[in-house]
């Protein structure tokens, strides 16, 4: 190892990278340029960094072979389609719920009777977002006010009484990122290009817990 290639400290390295990226204030830039003039080691590293960045910019993207999409799509047709794979968690949860509903129906004591008569339906929302700090839901049935979901294992869940009809809603992750429900019955795009999930209580889909 010569004096010229003694490793830079992380701080020195970061400073030169910031300088090279043009993300430095004018005063700091003058200081760095002064340092560069007085240090062959730093100048050598800067030249090296330019080579690395130049090389990565010039040859960053190697396009995939033209027929790759077709090959992948052909292979997809030979495997079991995801759409037919109902998530196990849903199947497990719905089996006891269905059995319970049948039991109460048989005795004329359907659990949600009073709610059905008042024109609402109990809906259980859930979202698989294990790393989210918070998850909330906002929809027309909450007057677009966020309502927090509670963590339940790796999922987040919330049960709400929703008036019968067609509704729009969206999940909010960590208070800032809006995401649709990937398992919603439908989605709609508004005139700003934002997407919302659709819940239609007439369509007794898998999410509706009546």
């Amino acid at each position: 190892m010569t004096m010229k290639n003694i490793p830079l400290t992380q701080e020195e390295e970061k400073t030169l990278e910031t300088y090279l990226d043009g993300e430095m204030g004018s005063e700091e830039k003058i200081n760095v340029e002064e340092m560069l003039r007085n240090s062959a080691r730093l100048q050598g590293y800067l030249d090296f960094l330019k080579n690395v960045k130049g090389m990565s910019q010039m040859s960053a993207m190697k396009p995939a072979p033209l027929d790759l999409t077709a090959k992948i799509m052909t292979r997809l047709s030979t495997v079991r389609a995801t759409s037919t794979l109902r998530p196990a968690s849903l199947a497990v949860r719905w089996a006891p719920l269905f059995a319970t509903a049948c039991f109460f129906l048989a005795f004329g004591l359907f659990l949600g009777k009073s709610r059905l008569q008042s024109g609402t339906v109990s809906v259980r929302f859930f979202l698989d977002a294990p790393r989210a700090q918070t998850v909330a839901l906002a929809g027309d049935f909450t007057d677009w006010k966020p309502v927090s979901l509670k963590p339940h294992g790796k999922e987040w869940e919330l049960t709400l009484d929703v008036p019968h009809g067609r509704h729009e809603y969206v999940f909010i992750l960590n208070g800032r990122r809006f995401v649709i429900d990937p398992r919603s019955q439908d989605v709609v795009e508004d005139n700003k290009g934002d997407f919302y999930s659709i819940l239609d209580t007439k369509n007794t889909g898998k999410k509706i817990n009546v």
Partner: protein
């Protein structure tokens, strides 16, 4: 909703369609990400055919497991993670095969791979803008000689233009660990480069 981060929402729309049974919609995801995945695999493995095979496997795996997609994870990061795991398997297999092979000409004296990327001809004309063909080839060789633990974050950072925090997510490492690895990769490269 203007202040809202909308990243990844288009992917979710497509994923929802595929989960609803519209398999052909998966093509949109393939077309959107295949170059990124192929590029990463090619940089990691240094072989076109293997890069293509791993890219195909990556999309198949994601397709099969799409119902498990976590909305708080970027689809691109999930693809990168799967692709890197598949690349690791191939590299591990190669090392085992090489161990039992009598052909020692494939390795250098220090035991590291001496792979040279099969650079497409189109790139050679571009590289005239750099210091020269030899410089780039030399750097390519040095990058390929890095240990995988340093090479992978370096490639993600400089060839895939991925932020450090996303590299941490993809590789399952802490942000500090990623930064140290990239720093060490550059230090190693520089020391070899400036010899």
């Amino acid at each position: 909703m203007n202040e809202i981060q909308k990243g990844g929402i288009d992917d979710l729309i497509v994923i929802r369609e595929v989960l609803q049974g519209h398999t052909e919609e998966f093509r949109q995801l393939v077309e959107k990400y295949q170059d990124f995945i192929y590029n990463l695999c090619y940089r990691t493995l240094g072989n076109k055919q293997e890069a293509e095979d791993v890219t195909q496997e990556t999309f198949l795996k994601v397709y099969k497991r799409l119902a498990d997609f976590k909305v708080d994870y970027k689809l691109s990061n999930w693809l990168y993670t799967i692709a890197l795991n598949l690349c690791k398997n191939i590299m591990r297999k190669k090392k085992i095969l090489r161990f039992f092979s009598l052909d020692h000409s494939y390795t250098t004296g220090d035991g590291e791979d001496e792979k040279t990327l099969d650079i497409p001809s189109g790139e050679i004309s571009i590289e005239s803008e750099l210091e020269g063909k030899e410089t780039q080839k030399r750097l390519e060789k040095l990058i390929n000689a890095l240990p995988d633990s340093l090479k992978t974050p370096f490639i993600l950072r400089y060839f895939q233009n991925i932020d450090d925090d996303e590299i941490a997510e993809i590789m399952g490492l802490s942000l500090d660990n990623v930064r140290v690895r990239i720093y060490r990769a550059k230090s190693c490269l520089w020391q070899e480069f400036s010899k």
